[in-house]
Symmetry: C3
Subunit: 210 residues, 3 copies
Amino acid sequence: MLLTILYIIGITAEAMTGAISAGKRKMDWFGVMFVASATAIGGGTVRDIILGHYPVAWVKHPEYIIITCIAGVVTTLIAPWVERNHRLFLVLDAIGLVVFSIIGCRIAFDMGLYPIICLIAAIITGVFGGLLRDLICSQKPMVLHKELYAFVALFSGIIYLLLLHYKVEESLTTLITLIAGFSLRMTALHFAWSLPVFHFDLHDTTEHKK
Amino acid sequence: MLLTILYIIGITAEAMTGAISAGKRKMDWFGVMFVASATAIGGGTVRDIILGHYPVAWVKHPEYIIITCIAGVVTTLIAPWVERNHRLFLVLDAIGLVVFSIIGCRIAFDMGLYPIICLIAAIITGVFGGLLRDLICSQKPMVLHKELYAFVALFSGIIYLLLLHYKVEESLTTLITLIAGFSLRMTALHFAWSLPVFHFDLHDTTEHKK
Amino acid sequence: MLLTILYIIGITAEAMTGAISAGKRKMDWFGVMFVASATAIGGGTVRDIILGHYPVAWVKHPEYIIITCIAGVVTTLIAPWVERNHRLFLVLDAIGLVVFSIIGCRIAFDMGLYPIICLIAAIITGVFGGLLRDLICSQKPMVLHKELYAFVALFSGIIYLLLLHYKVEESLTTLITLIAGFSLRMTALHFAWSLPVFHFDLHDTTEHKK
């Protein structure tokens, strides 16, 4: 199954970026495995908990968390190579983002939830891993500040739901969504597209009043 | 139903204060919608997850999360007006706090849980939204440091449970709790009441030993 | 039951260390009770939520959360004594760590989950309380950075599962695990054992390229 292979590539890549963040914070091997796993499978875990979708993915498939732990520890050995291939990881991360979004959307859809909840499930699965990584490592949460990231998850979810709605054959639906979502993310990276930023500075307004 | 109307007012006001916090951190529109929603409906989400009360409120009623997202984005347009009407938002926040507490207490009560768990459910529903907002925005969590806030949730829960216990008619119970809780919160704000603070400074004690 | 007595000693000690952290952040009484409870019973709460093991421990046994709240407030009165007996609390914390690990492992085992998930349940129960405390108090998460802590939880879980597997009588299994885990933790503290640290400094590598 294409989606499963891409999912495993996705969690491996996410785990490696998580491990790099842990290394910047000088964490020990447990910290590395923890941040790697939270980054890679934290989004799916939060989604399953919020939707009450038990058992949580990695409790049913412990091989996923074993992969992320191994990927984390391996990263400590090949960190300079990972950093040098920064662009490769942006590509793998883009694949992971779209795959996670499709899986999140599908799970909510199969639970018979509202379309808007399916889209939120896509976003949670796609972006919460990175958000958890940034909160644990006391970094400014990247997904809340810039880049078209959550929007790509939303876009992928919309495409996927629309194709399902129009009875497009399922593997074709997945493939089209993958290509569309991945293309949007890579284009957004290339042109540095981002959502409008809301900058509200209390002190500025106070000073203007003077 | 009075409670539903006040609930919608409450989540709208909370979402707007969340959006202001996001604006102070220069987040993008997704960040704004995320922090707004976490502030407004995060407390109820944490309560439902801890109690195993599925489906989570906004999964069943997606209109709530649509309201908080819209309120967040609208706030980016009218932020100076929101900041100028700071006092109005303290009033709306006080209403939200008591309404959230009543709803949290009621849900635990209807699940047949112990009275002490009903009170904890009231506190979680009332204060966790603001706590999540402060953690996501790396702000010092206001509710853990000062102001009579969690105590108002506890007080509202106690009044509500007592009135239910003495078989007071349900809409009357809600009304009395609303008035009592709201009055306590506004009085506490007016006189700047707060709980005792525990200040433990390790370095001070070390120095005293010298 | 030995395990229950040790569990109550464990959550009391953990709650007191949580309260000390809250005091260093100048929190009010609610903050103190909240951080104390999160430290002591947060790990078990996260474990129950991830495993879908409802009701969560303290919802079924509210006396646990009452104990942690009282322990937190009492700590505000005897903080200098707690700090002076720092070594005693390291011992009590070691007992708590192993007891929490055994309980976490047992719950997952009774749910019929994979051995690897039982071990992860042991680790989550043992270390997440301290992790939550550090995140709420904006402290560098101790368990992710140094000391043999999560590894002790893993080790205790492995011993416990092995003894169960070889049909050792249950109270003997618990006793042996307690002694083995406690001994490892105290020895690790004595010799300052720790896991390898992964230190990755982006700026260093960038400068080396120059």
